[in-house]
Symmetry: C2
Subunit: 74 residues, 2 copies
Amino acid sequence: MDGQLQRNLGANLRKWRTKRQLSQEALADVLAVHRTYMGGIERGERNLTLRSVEQIAETLHLDPLELLRDQSSG
Amino acid sequence: MDGQLQRNLGANLRKWRTKRQLSQEALADVLAVHRTYMGGIERGERNLTLRSVEQIAETLHLDPLELLRDQSSG
């Protein structure tokens, strides 16, 4: 369980990005974070705060809870 | 939007606690946090990390996403 939310977030962001054929660097630019930090988020390595999750969701016009949900199946 | 997740968390935790007729101090003890910090969480003032939310959920045997969801209506 521990770290599951951040892993879900990373997987969902990566899926969102690749569906739009954006590079990690391009998404990092959109979110105003460094490219290496973006990589860490996508790999589920970053223990983000709730507000950071909200800011990402707001920027991408997504539901923050959807970003945290396990969408690996289906 | 900003701060909505932490406000949902606080409201849901308070609802969970009062339903069980636990004091804020008792819940703070269960979660191994200071009583004043517990108060801040319940008031939605604490910008917790994803792992902290998971730890709270795990300790209380709740779904972390349910804790973050707006359950004020219905």
